[in-house]
């Protein structure tokens, strides 16, 4: 127990206790020093900061440089500063970088950096997954950007519509850089999303129920689920596009049964939620900052949470409003128009909540508040023009005009960039211990506010006058020159605004005014810790009894007596390993104490394997792919290599007996189960995307299978699926055996599962090899072999897990008490068999459904 306690406090609000074990805990959670520490590091502050800096680095490359050049080109009519080809590359790069490589890493960085402090926990649930996520985002971005070194910059727009992006019209490797580079970064985005979801749902301070969670955590929760559901279809779309480009499949070739609209569907199922993926965390930042600077609790917390969730759902029913002009049936148009207009309702609810908070509060005018008010002004204009383009007749007029450019920049700059600046000004003192300069902050704000409006407002008018998007120049007679010149002048107000920000950051890090723990009088938990915080954030976990603990609680570690004993007990124990706490999802009662993963080189190795797969495909040296897949498998196995639990079962039990909370020093059962659950969901979304692609292609083909291809035989797939179903049953027998302590029966059943798995897949592969058509003859063959290949990859993942589990079972690793890995593999295998049955069922029975 931490009897000897010193206050670590300065600034308003309660302070944290600093027990004598503080330094010991700090060392436990710190990464190793030096270069090795940089490569193996998993500490959340480090990863979060890196993600944000990487996003900002790509912003300077793609967001700023490209836009300045484009605006210079358009400043006057018939300008020849850049060629049409270079202009195509500039707008493609600008959109791509900002949508994939800037805002997403910045907000995921915010999340990984902030959440442990904000939620009152010591780490994120999967620190190694966080590291993997960072490396893949970085490598993906660099792979994409390396196209400039080879003069192969993608030029088909950030949406890469087929057939322009297909092999016929983009035969060189430029589009492959786009597909493959971004593919790597998308993997990283999904990995971070899984980490954030579990972090928010399962790793909060005792007492921080869902209804006491800060708005930013709610926003990040919805954001992360949206990433999972939106990015996965894009990965599948990218896979199909690369197969068309590199392997000769026919997904997007209408002459061979494909459909170019299929790409648009897959892209925009990602693309529109992506806008809200960027917007929602920004609203979370606003909802954190406004109450602090208005000295007023947020008005309508429950309504705001509901609005976030409603936006999350509705955003998945909007994608075809990007396709109003492609000839969809009128009833379909009405569905998407209705959903597009409806989303203004929850956005409006949030707006009313913010305005009411301002109305009821008393403003403290500091830079973060300036940016929030700037956000409100600019975003509302972008929101209103958004409702305008949701109306089909208006959209048919404004489609692909500068009106849409104005709309989206008002939304993304006002709705996203301003809150990011507000968030940096707000939280910078916490993580550096220095205040950003207020005077420079005002310059920063006003230059950006004026610059953004001067640049983008005239685009509304130019668009309504008929100026189309993505043109590298325009005629003198068009009458658009004045508006374009004003827009270009506006960019030269924005650029010094960003320069002032960079200077402010550099200057303040070197000689900024020291920040106390809580320089703004903030209400949430992060302001209780020191600035900068220790590596582990919390020695004694806080006990939360209010939504605004820093305002409402006199002490942060007071509460139910048993809970108090628990948090103090954990501050003094175990001190040999990195202990963190899992809580009940809804009630935030401590549920498990577990060992958080420590620094490791394997996430970097795995990320290298992933990027190598994509590079090998890019340069078409395909034998390297096999080696890279092996590297991924080796990396993943090393990453999850079991470690001897640093505590005996008796020691675990002693703590549980005293505090009533289960201990798993070998690694968490709960977060592993959740991680596997979300992994299964990810595979399921990918599978659903392929199934939808199958049915879409079937929908547009008058004959299925096409003439000349017979319906496939049913016996082999039924036999193969039956054997796999039996293998799933045998795996559950293995699980029962290990629970019963029967090691012999357990190993035999595990071995039986593996043998049956190989037999079932073997039957299916033999049948696939004997089919009379291939993957390149028609879209039918393309989707047939792609879906079958996907199911075999899922099977392979399960088979690798089973093999590793069998190895460890023979080594005696699993016991009655510690066998969570086997249970998780059983879950995955059950899902894999279910996907197998549904997938091959569709492929083989589909042709008979006529």
């Amino acid at each position: 127990m931490s009897d000897a306690v010193v206050s670590a406090g300065s600034g308003p609000g309660p302070s944290v206790e600093k027990p004598l074990t503080h330094d010991e805990l700090n060392d436990l959670f710190a990464d190793p020093p030096g270069l090795w520490g940089q490569l193996t590091g998993v500490q959340n502050d480090k990863l979060g900061t890196r993600l944000m800096l990487t996003g900002f680095f790509f912003l300077l490359l793609g967001g700023s440089f490209d836009s300045v050049l484009m605006r210079l080109q358009l400043a006057v009519p018939e300008n020849d500063l850049v060629s049409a080809e270079l202009y195509n590359e500039l707008f493609t790069n600008h959109g791509t970088v900002v949508m994939f490589l800037v805002i997403l890493p910045i907000f995921e960085g915010f999340a990984i950096l902030l959440l442990p402090l904000l939620l009152g926990t010591r780490e994120m649930p999967f620190p190694r997954l966080g590291a993997f996520s960072y490396w893949t985002v970085l490598f993906g971005g660099l792979l994409y950007y390396s196209s400039t070194l080879f003069q192969l910059v993608p030029n088909a727009g950030w949406f890469a519509y087929t057939p322009l992006s297909g092999p016929t019209y983009s035969p060189d490797l430029a589009l492959d850089f786009w597909v493959l580079g971004l593919g790597v970064a998308e993997v990283g985005a999904i990995a971070a999303a899984i980490e954030i979801i579990i972090g928010i749902l399962k790793m909060r301070a005792p007492g921080m129920t869902l209804s006491r969670m800060p708005m930013f955590a709610w926003a990040l929760l919805v954001f992360s689920f949206m990433i999972l559901f939106a990015f996965t279809p894009l990965i599948i779309g990218s896979l199909l596009l690369e197969l068309d480009r590199g392997f000769g499949t026919e997904f997007f070739n209408p002459a061979q049964g494909g459909s170019s609209l299929l790409w648009q569907h897959l892209f925009w199922i990602f693309g529109h939620p992506e806008v809200y993926i960027q917007f929602l965390p920004a609203t979370g930042v606003v909802s954190m900052i406004l109450p602090v600077f208005m000295r007023k609790r947020i008005v309508g917390y429950t309504w705001m949470v509901s609005a976030l969730v409603a936006i999350g759902f509705l955003s998945f029913g909007l994608w075809a409003h990007h396709m109003f002009a492609v000839g969809l049936p009128p009833l379909v148009l009405s569905f998407f128009a209705a959903a597009s207009m409806l989303i203004a309702v929850p956005a409006g609810v949030q707006f009313v909540g913010w305005l009411a908070t301002i109305w009821a509060g008393r403003a403290v005018w500091k830079t973060p508040l300036f940016f929030v008010v700037g956000f409100l002004v600019i975003f509302v204009i972008g929101g209103i023009t958004g409702v305008m383009v949701a109306a089909v007749p208006f959209d048919l007029q404004a489609h692909d005009s500068y009106f849409v450019v104005a709309h989206l920049h008002y939304v993304l700059l006002g709705g996203v960039a301003f809150p990011i600046f507000a968030g940096v000004y707000y939280w910078f003192p916490k993580f550096t211990g220095k205040m950003l300069d207020e005077r420079l902050g005002r310059w920063n704000f006003w230059l950006l506010f004026v610059g953004v409006n001067v640049t983008f407002f005239p685009m509304h008018i130019a668009g309504l006058m008929g100026m189309p998007r993505r043109v590298y120049t325009y005629s003198r007679d068009a009458g658009w020159d004045t508006y374009n010149l004003i827009s270009t002048i506006g960019v030269f107000v924005i650029v010094p605004g960003i320069a002032v920000f960079i200077w402010n950051v550099i200057r303040s890090i070197r000689r900024g005014e020291p920040a106390g723990n809580n320089p703004w009088g903030g209400d949430t938990l992060e302001w209780a810790t020191t600035s900068p915080p220790s590596e582990h954030g919390w020695s004694v976990l806080p006990i939360v009894r209010s939504r605004h603990p820093m305002w409402d609680q006199d002490e942060l570690h007071r509460g139910d007596e048993r809970l108090e004993r628990f948090v103090h007990g954990l501050a003094a124990w175990p001190l040999r390993w990195r202990a963190a706490v899992i809580v009940g999802t809804a009630d935030a009662r401590p549920q498990e104490v577990f060992r958080v993963a420590d620094p490791s080189i394997w996430p970097l190795v795995t990320a290298c394997g992933v990027v190598l797969i994509f590079i090998a495909e890019l340069i078409k040296v395909r034998w390297v792919i096999a080696g890279a897949v092996l590297l991924v498998i080796v990396g993943a196995v090393g990453w999850n290599w079991p470690q001897e639990p640093p505590m005996t079962v008796e020691e675990e039990d002693a703590f549980e007996q005293e505090h009533g909370v289960a201990v798993n020093a070998g690694g968490s059962v709960v977060v592993a189960t959740w991680g596997m659950g979300l992994g299964i969901l990810f595979v399921g979304i990918a599978f659903a995307s392929l199934l939808l692609s199958y049915f879409y292609l079937r929908l547009v083909n008058p004959a299925w299978p096409p003439p000349g291809i017979a319906e496939p035989g049913l016996i082999p797939p039924i036999l193969g699926a039956a054997v796999l179903i039996v293998s799933g049953r045998v795996l559950f027998t293995a699980l029962h055996r290990v629970r019963a302590g029967d090691q012999g029966g357990f190993i035999a059943a595990l071995l039986g599962t593996l043998v049956l798995a190989i037999a079932g897949a073997g039957i299916q592969i033999r049948d696939l090899a004997a089919l009379e058509f291939g993957g390149t003859t028609h879209a039918y063959g393309s989707i047939f072999f792609t879906l079958a290949g996907f199911l075999l990859v899922v099977w392979l993942a399960g088979a690798v897990m089973l093999s590793v589990a069998l190895y460890w079972a023979i080594r005696g690793m699993y016991t009655t008490r510690r066998h969570a890995t086997v249970a998780n593999i059983a879950r995955f295998w059950t899902a894999a068999v279910a996907y197998w049955v549904a997938g091959f069922g569709t492929l083989y029975l589909g042709p008979y459904l006529t």
């Binding site: 869902l210 509901s306 009833l331 009940g584 299925w704 066998h819």
Partner: protein
Amino acid sequence: MTDPQEPVPVSDGGRTAPGGTPYAVDVSRDRLARLTWVAFLGGPATWLAHFMLVYLVVEAGCSGSGPGLRLFNSPVPSTVTLVSTALAAVATLGFARWSYRSWAAGDGGPAADDATELSGPVADREHGGTMAFAGFLLSLFSFVAVLFLGLPALVLEC
């Protein structure tokens, strides 16, 4: 947090087995959490399911040319849209009623989200509270959204 001596209900995530020996795989059982989420997300999930259903049926009936799609010819798209709209509207109202009753069944004391409540149990009550009210709001909004989406089928066939 439970007393070690007290029998632990299976559905509680607090501990894993009577006597304090964790069965690793059972820790995550958390019935309360599941129910909370169902009531909270039921409305919008119904909206999304309804949306996907009517979109796919209308796409199949109005723009599809594949074999067997005669089944979806007019007036099937508009009929399916209207019938499923009615069913989804009833379902969202059902979720609204469930959430409202959960919220109203609270003990009348300060809600768990009331910032002034500093004493009392750490956990949310089983009934009531922010999540239930948010579920109520979301369900009502989903009801409006379902109708807004489906009613054009009264005048459009395809």
